[in-house]
């Protein structure tokens, strides 16, 4: 998309206007503000000098042109942001703006200098400063943070996946770092970021006590299936399953407790076995091709289903988790043991809770799942700076256990430096610490998840590609012995 606007400068503040922009616009005199009646935009024109008897509203020179391609995309698809027709060597700022469902504003911005042909390409050029630096085609998304003055401890997650995230991308003259809302942009493009591809269907599931949402890909099916489980935050988060369905997997986002209600949920592992059965028996799903994806607490469930349960997943992806599991306990009791005593936890200098120190690896089998019994391919995705759970140590123990029975060839470990606990789909903003409702009776706490924004975002992008390739190989390409031409 290409848009244009009157080039604007701060009224009466010649120091704020970039002299190179003024020269290129052919300015031969003073700048004067002319009030307009549209938006908050103030129009500026060039005043006449005796040599140049031009009336007002003369648009001189080239007109800046902003395009974002494509303007509609899935959330894991990249876009190209391009600004053309700028003066050569002009400093500009590219900024993204999004209003979340909670009505908070999120932004990211990068500082650029145009080429001699007046072009800024976010894909090819270096950001010299802002919320991201360097050559980052998608920096305007993954480096998003709440705008100054926002509430603290926020996390950006889309709950309604039937509508897209709307992100506006704007270009401003000069290198701007604050007060964006006080200045009119040179141009703005609106983009849509979707979790659901066209034709994906969303079904509420309430079956034998199991609660969740099933997303079915476009097409007649049947499809490979996925059981998708989130972590200790609870509630029903649909976006990852919606995205998996957009990639061809019928995915059940499973709800297993309400936020803050884990202690009272008292879930048995049988609940998850039932959920897995519901997926394998669904008419839109191929029963011999059902995988499991779990994050955080969800990985304990995933590994239980893969190792000690009677169900037979085709493959398993575990993000930021482990096999820590005291025997004979329900899931909520497990979580309670690990996370229950908040008073004992360490805090960092910002009063964020650090949980990882509480958990230790035991060689005692009564404290962990017997992963030696896993018979399907497993992919472990972990961050080396995970401050919530010692996932890398767990992964190493899992590897040793599986190697002891000759099954380590089933294991794929992805471990990322400076990456925290919340490994989300690509281009999602990074949260080093956020508010978390651990217990609805005890209110909110702030939890340290870890990770540094840039390496964490790289990990999200890389791991998602690899997760999709892993799923495609095991759930689509790999043929069961019964298949015939």
């Amino acid at each position: 998309m290409h848009h244009v606007a009157v080039v604007t400068f701060k009224a009466g503040d010649k120091g704020g206007a970039d002299p190179r922009l003024m020269t290129a616009q052919g300015s031969r005199g003073m700048l004067e503000p002319i009030p307009t009646d549209f938006g908050r935009q103030a129009g500026y024109t060039l005043n006449c000098t005796p040599l140049c008897r031009r009336a007002s509203a003369m648009s001189q020179g080239a007109w800046p042109l902003l395009s974002v391609k494509p303007t509609r995309a899935l959330v894991d698809e990249a876009f190209k942001v391009l600004v053309e027709n700028l003066p050569p060597g002009a400093p500009v700022t590219l900024r993204s703006l999004h209003q979340s469902e909670d009505r908070d504003y999120w932004e990211a911005y990068g500082h650029y200098i145009s080429t001699s042909t007046g072009v800024v390409s976010v894909t090819d050029d270096l950001s010299l400063g802002g919320t991201y630096q360097g050559r980052e085609a998608m920096g305007l998304l993954w480096s998003m943070q709440p705008v100054p003055g926002s509430r603290t401890g926020l996390r950006l997650r889309k709950m309604n996946v039937r509508s897209p995230m709307l992100v506006s991308i704007s270009v401003y003259g000069g290198h701007v770092s604050e007060d964006f809302s006080q200045r009119p942009p040179l141009a703005t493009v609106l983009t849509e970021r979707w979790y659901m591809a066209p034709g994906v269907r969303r079904l509420d599931i309430k079956d034998r006590g199991v609660r969740g949402t099933l997303f079915i890909p476009s097409g007649p099916g049947p499809f490979p299936g996925m059981l998708d489980m989130w972590g200790g935050g609870g509630g029903l988060l649909e976006y990852r399953s919606a995205l998996l369905a957009s990639h061809g997997y019928a995915s059940l986002a499973l709800e297993y407790f309400l936020p803050g209600e884990l202690a009272s949920a008292d879930l048995e592992l049988a609940y998850f076995e039932k959920a897995f059965e519901i997926v394998t028996h669904h008419p839109a799903i191929i029963p011999s091709r059902v995988g499991i994806l779990g994050l955080s607490l969800g990985t304990i469930v995933a590994m239980y289903l893969a190792s000690e349960s009677t169900v037979k997943p085709t493959c398993c992806v575990c993000i930021s988790g482990g096999h820590f599991f005291p025997r004979g306990k329900t899931l909520s009791a497990v979580h309670q043991m690990v996370y229950g005593d908040i008073e004992k936890l360490h805090m960092d200098d910002k009063h964020n809770l650090i949980w990882r120190d509480i958990m230790t690896i035991s060689s005692d089998l009564s404290w962990k799942l017997d992963v030696r019994r896993i018979n399907c391919p497993v992919m472990l995705v972990n961050g080396l700076d995970d401050q919530n759970t010692p996932t890398v140590e767990f992964a190493e123990d899992i590897f040793q256990m599986m190697r002891s029975v000759g099954k380590d060839h089933l294991l794929t470990r992805l471990e990322y430096p400076d990456t925290g606990h919340l490994i989300e789909p690509p281009y999602s903003p990074h949260f080093r610490a956020t508010n978390f409702i651990w217990d609805s009776k005890k209110g909110k706490v702030s939890i340290l998840w870890g990770g540094q924004t840039k390496p964490h975002s790289d990990a999200q992008e890389d791991s998602w590609k690899k997760i999709l390739a892993f799923l495609q190989y095991h759930l689509y390409s790999r043929q069961s012995p019964r298949a015939r031409m």
């Binding site: 998309m1 606007a5 549209f38 129009g43 003369m58 509609r72 609106l190 066209p198 034709g199």
Partner: protein, 437 residues
């Protein structure tokens, strides 16, 4: 192939796009060397089904990539990334003479792309596909605004790009149609141009008074754009196809008000009597209508009405008077209008007048009259219901060549418009400027 034990993966990337963007269709997880048919289906606003299909063989990896592999046959052959769109045709049993056009541009066109086992040419709805994917194709990008315009008796729609504006603008004149056609203008707004498609054949004032519009109507439309707060008064272009070109060329040559920065004329002609009223124009057509030929399929070859190009200057717009860059798009196989012959004559006139440096001609062999945005299905002949004529008109053009012409011409047209409306500026004389604020 036992489909119960096999999961075939079909992806169309991107699954949402503007109508002029390309997509990549990939089939995976089939065995190598398997014959497959990739099929596209669309149900248009009129309720008719349109389809296209192509035959492929999967490669050693068990996949088909439509943008890289050759179609062995179907509604197109060879390597054609977008062939499933531009080779669409009405499903068998549909009444003949249809044209695919989207009238409501605020919703996307939905296509279902599917893959079937074996080489099929029919009965696609009777058997389940191996896989399918719904694809959305939009004329309007997010944030583009659609504003009906009825001020001063104008019958038009204004499409504004998203963003603060103001924007360069395009006055868009369609051809001889029975209602306002918006899709090209909506697409232009998605590329950064405020666009005003203008209904000059059936505006409300004509319906009320039974009188056709005259030149002042177009001047009013041009002034409307100039005075609009979100339009840059000195960056307004004109775009016209077919019958609309006749009015546009006349304005370019003779109007004191309509002074666009540049103009694009698709398959038009400069031949017409220099008279003000539309009624006279229709009388002119009727007078020469006995020159129209009819081919063996009973389709009217309208262009014979105009040929040979007259040397009588009173019967041609004096394009030597045109003062702005002019892009002529010509489908050399146009059977309804004498585009090719007119372009040659216009070039001569401009050479003699000394303004031929303003002229660019894009001439496409084997392309027909209806040069539409890219990937639109080609219509070789259709029932043409205009104000004056009801018949099957032969538009001309060979399917593949016409599709290439649409794709190439659109790119070049956008580049021409961007160059003149965004990048360059000529500093028009001060007398033409209007106060903006």
């Amino acid at each position: 192939m036992n489909v119960k034990h096999r999961a075939v993966k079909l992806s169309v990337h991107p699954s949402r796009g503007l109508v002029d963007e390309k997509f990549v269709i990939v089939v995976q997880s089939v065995p190598p060397g398997v014959q497959l048919t990739v099929h596209a289906f669309h149900r248009c606003e009129g309720g008719h089904g349109w389809e296209a299909f192509a035959h492929y063989v999967s490669d050693a990896h068990g996949s088909v990539n439509v943008s890289q592999h050759a179609s062995m046959g179907g509604t197109y052959s060879g390597v054609e990334q977008m062939g499933l769109l531009w080779s669409l045709r009405p499903v068998p049993g549909t009444k003949p003479g249809l044209r695919l056009r989207k009238m409501n541009v605020q919703t996307p066109m939905e296509f279902t792309i599917s893959v079937h086992l074996g080489y099929r040419t029919e009965g696609f709805m009777d058997q389940a596909a191996l896989a399918s994917q719904v694809v959305e194709r939009w004329y309007m990008a997010p944030g583009v605004r659609r504003i009906p315009v009825t001020k001063d008796g104008l019958s038009a729609t204004l499409f504004l790009p998203s963003g603060p504006g103001p924007f360069p603008a395009i006055l868009d004149l369609w051809g001889d149609a029975s209602q306002l056609v918006e899709y090209r203008a909506a697409l232009l707004a998605s590329h950064g141009f405020a666009s005003l498609p203008l209904d000059y054949l059936t505006p409300k004032m004509s319906q009320d008074t039974s009188k056709m519009v005259d030149n002042s109507y177009f001047e009013k439309a041009f002034r409307f754009l100039q005075h609009h707060p979100q339009v840059l008064a000195d960056r307004i272009a004109m775009l016209a196809i077919s019958y609309g070109s006749s009015f546009m060329l006349k304005m370019l040559a003779y109007s004191d008000v309509v002074k666009p920065t540049c103009a694009v004329c698709i398959n038009g002609t400069h031949m017409q009597p220099i008279i003000a009223k539309q009624e006279d124009l229709f009388a002119f057509y009727n007078h020469y209508s006995d020159k129209i030929q009819v081919n063996e399929k009973k389709q009217k070859i309208m262009k014979m009405m105009w040929l040979p190009i007259t040397s009588d200057p009173t019967l041609k717009v004096d394009v030597g008077r045109v003062q702005c860059p002019l892009l002529l798009v010509v489908g050399e196989d146009d059977q309804s209008w004498p585009s090719s012959e007119s372009a040659v004559d216009m070039k001569e006139m401009m050479k003699r007048a000394g303004n031929s440096h303003l002229l660019t001609i894009l001439s496409y062999p084997n392309a027909g009259h209806l040069i539409e945005p890219p990937y639109s299905p080609h219509s070789k002949a259709s029932s043409f219901r205009s104000i004056s004529i009801q018949q099957k008109t032969l538009w001309g053009g060979q399917c593949v060549a016409h599709a290439y012409a649409q794709e190439d011409c659109w790119k070049k047209m956008l580049a021409f418009l961007h160059h003149h409306l965004y990048a360059a500026h000529y500093g028009p004389p001060a007398s033409r400027l209007t106060a903006k604020f």
